[in-house]
Amino acid sequence: MSDLVQPLPMTDTPVKVAPLRVSERHVAGALILALCAVLVLIIALPLWALLSKSLENTDGKFVGLANFVSYATTPSLFYSLLNSLLVAGVTTAIVVPLAFLYAYALRRSCIPAKGAFYAAAMVPVFAPSLLSGLALIYLFGNQGILKSWMMGASLYGPVGIIAAEVLYCFPHAMLILVTALALSDGRLREAADAMGTSRWRIFHTITLPGARYGVISATFVVFTLVITDFGIPKVIGGQFSVLATDAYRQVVGQQNFPMGAVVGIILLVPAVLAFFVDRVVQRRQSAMLSARAVPYVPKPERRRDLGLLGFVSLVALAIVGPYAIAFWGSFVKYWPYNLSLTLGNYDFSAVEPDGWGPYRNSLLLASLTAVIGTSLIFTGAYLIEKVKLFPRLRAFAQFLAMLPMAVPGLVLGLGYVFFYNAGWNPLGFLYGTLAILVINTVAHFYTVGHITALTSLKQLDGEFESVSASLKVPFWSTFRRVTAPICLPAILDIAVYVFVNALTTVSAVIFLYGADTKLASIAIVHMDEAGAMASAAGMASVIMATAIAVKLLHVGLDNLVFGRLQQWRQR
């Protein structure tokens, strides 16, 4: 046995070991530098281009804040700002309470079929935002089957925008609130019950304060989503202009880049504000719950459960219904006069020169973005979290990785136009290619993926890298053999998130597509403009079906990963 641990000959040690050190440090440094360079190129420089463009006139001369002054003094532009604030404010005021009650029913009551209600509320996530607009037009528009419900009022304008935004934003608010309501200490409830506290008092002294950070967070998220959304006002807004449609008109319609940049920066304000509020809230939220808290398990209570079941059913119907109608409408010959079914609307070549081409482009974009984006995001998060060299560079990369969260897609898209379309930019050849769409989409959805990756990496034992170093195994081997396999579920999460969003996004890419790279979501906008609403609904339905299919595949794959493929997870 004693020959097991024979000291290595002294002369051998430095020779054997020295090259390892050089290469490992160099590789780590090169990778972190490369990560920083990529993030600067896809996030920092486009934003910088947007800022500097807003301070120039149309000839590229520096004019200070002159553009902002002329924006504020042009009534038509200024009214869009007020319109945006109105629409976002009202939508938020409707969505947050509804989503709170819905989330409350899912977390704190004993209603049946919680999974189905959860899934129903998530439906809008899988569709382009403008599908909710199309759905409402089918119901309440000029040819709507329920037009009488409008009592003469017009859907096209603030009413339609708000209704569609409520549909579109509901799942985002609900997700945040479900999480917030999950974080509660059951012992507090038990203590209150033991003291004979009334239900209303429990609600406003324990439940509401416990979830208040979630409510704040949801409020900001919904407000930002609405104010930066482009698809819905485009489809259902009529003459009612908002910031997002203004930005599009200034840049694409009038080629007034500086004014487009000004609108972009105004759109940045609520998003940046929401970002910082969210960070503060996150910090407070995690401090609130001690490690010894016991999760609250609701007990059946007939009257409350029945009431909530009624409410939840109504909301679920109100969400799924319109999407179902739009899906149905896409098969209808001539809404609402000839309701016989046809596949004709799916022959997109009648209204779109490229036929099904945009859908194929979208699939390609989503696949490429999922593969490239997930690799970049996860590797980047690993370098930032686990490689303990070059702390300053890593902090810089971390900052850039968190930045896209505060940048609405529309604003990022504008930045890309200004940066990659600039005459001096050697990367200008990318403009109008699929590559720039992929790059932009990766940047657009970077932060959520990054946070998912970080969360999963932080759960790993911090000493894996130390052990590997002591065994003289370079970090990339440990990444390949240990870290990535353990984080596979998180990697799948990121890939599916990026894929679904790449499929449904309109806002950033609307500025960047070229003749050969038109995407399905953009084709929908064009079909709608051309009055081919059934085809627009058809294309949107195809997108939605694809996104849902991918999500179901993900669920199946996850079961496989946790079940058969990774048996080490079970005792």
């Binding site: 046995m1 290595l8 002294m10 130390s466 052990v467 170093a469 370079p474 053999r481 080490w568």
Partner: protein, 363 residues
Amino acid sequence: MSTTTTPFLSVRNLAKNFGAFRALHDIDLDIHRGEFVCFLGPSGCGKTTLLRAVAGLDLQDSGTIHMGGRDVSHASPSERDFGIVFQSYALFPNLTVADNVGYGLVNRRRTRDEIAKRVNELLTLVGLPEQGRKYPVQLSGGQQQRVALARALATAPELLLLDEPLSALDAKVRERLRGEMRSLQQRLGVTTIMVTHDQEEALAMADRIVVMRDGAVEQVGSPEEIYRRPATPFVADFVGHMTFMDAIVTGPGKVRVDELDLVVANAAPFAAGTPVRLAMRPEEVRTRGIGAETPNRFEATIGDLAFLGSYCRAHLEPTGSRATRIAADFSSNAMRDLGIVPGQVRTVAFPPEALHVFAGEGR
């Protein structure tokens, strides 16, 4: 280059700060080939920081570390030659036990058969043959600990570092593994450093103990030296139990505690009239074989008695003394033979060589 007289590991003037906090300062330490050394101290004393500096996982701010005659002060962990076991074990959960143990062997241009053979040897060595195909989650804590040990030893490192390797285990398992690890270390002769806050563990396992406090070395010595001749009141108090008494030096080798005049063997360099602290271990208080010639003999009342299994701890109140209470341990045998009960007045004695004299308060 290295001979038996030059130390295998030598640390000089090592210092590290975390902001304003001095985690380590003025650390000088030599460790010889084949030694088992324990870094012992309360949490926050810098023992883990020192271990991580030796490993190169957290570099020191200043000072040098030489390993096997080579200056490794600024070397990365992979340039140093050590195996390490962490408190959490850090076993790779997605790899089998065999793959975990063979993790460091794969890169070293060995054939698959060679690796398999070596892994088997190691698993046999730590007493886990036939367990190679299981995953870590299927093993008990003690088994996981042994796998981590086998993995650390797989590449035949010259230095084995153990960071609180036993503290996540149950008391019984801990005690058994303590003995197993020590005998394994002696068989392999691998130089070993273990960090622990458990003084019993350090006493049972180490060749030498480095007692640390507030980022500095308080005392270095064999377990017996540390226990029998603590250099400072801190060491005396931290390792084992100790009763402290305020006293005044009355002459060469003589001190007075309250009304008691005592003789001490370790004539410390204190002038008469100097206030000192006198310390004594509870098990050193004698109750048997006391004759007229026995020094430091006095009457005391047995105060409360605490039953602690194999022995009882009593608090003695010397007759005529106001405040002094002295802890004394009596074996179960002594309890039975002498019929010790609370409230009894007995003659007891302090052996002069068991009394430690430290500088008094304010010095």
